[in-house]
Symmetry: C2
Subunit: 144 residues, 2 copies
């Protein structure tokens, strides 16, 4: 049974993503949609829905992990724009999207949500993506 005292990933987030590793604060998860490089940070804190509900120390940590991840993703994939968003209308557990956008991607210049069905990674593409992202994920675990 889910507890509100212990962090447990929301089942919808777990179903839609592949766990890549953990930063000091967040689980780092790859959205299972090969259309875009799309990473979600999930602070490992129970019952938190909004960024401002985190302690100040955790907010700082989230900011650092988010900025480090965002800078790294843009360097790795050479995107035209990064989208960073905490929405949570469907999954209330706080999670922060990082999506690398390209001017020729299928939803540009609109947001990605609800535009098209996710295109699941093939096993080989997933393995390649994990390998490519590994140093960045490890840098989140090491900290500043």
């Amino acid at each position: 049974m889910a507890s509100d005292k212990v962090f447990e990933i929301h089942r919808r987030l777990a179903a839609d993503t592949h766990l890549l590793g953990c930063g000091q604060l967040c689980e780092v998860r790859l959205m299972n949609d090969a259309t875009w490089p799309w990473i979600i940070l999930v602070p490992q804190r129970p019952s938190v829905r909004e960024i401002y509900e985190l302690t100040e120390v955790d907010q700082q940590r989230l900011l650092w992990e988010s900025s480090t991840l965002g800078r790294g993703l843009m360097a790795l994939f050479g995107g035209d724009k990064l989208n960073v968003a905490a929405l949570g209308n469907m999954v209330p557990q706080l999670h922060l999207h990082h999506i690398v956008r390209f001017e020729d991607d299928p939803a540009w210049p609109g947001p990605v949500w609800g535009k098209q069905s996710p295109r699941s990674y093939e096993p080989e593409a997933l393995a390649g993506m994990k390998l490519r992202l590994q140093p960045l994920v490890e840098s989140l675990a090491r900290g500043a």
Copy 2:
């Protein structure tokens, strides 16, 4: 002529919003769409597109202004969820959306962008909204 050395609000952001005031870092702007309480923070820094391009001090400041604003908006309007997002596909100048969402709003549970045409504020409603938001905007200027 727009300069890349001096901050100047993007003309599209200026056209779509009403300036409410300034925090220590950001212009605080009300999106001209009465459908949702929707505030945009625009860091007053030239040529910045991504959060990670701000200095660390400015990132801290943005986080503080965003969290203070978000907490205040949710307290004022009693929303069901706050959406916080830096997209910038249409307007590259860094700006951070804060949108109070309700489970019975016209786009729930989807994101608000592109769902429907903005519903401009009537003058009286705008004046009321500004009055209601004034203490919160002033708290952003005062700082922590």
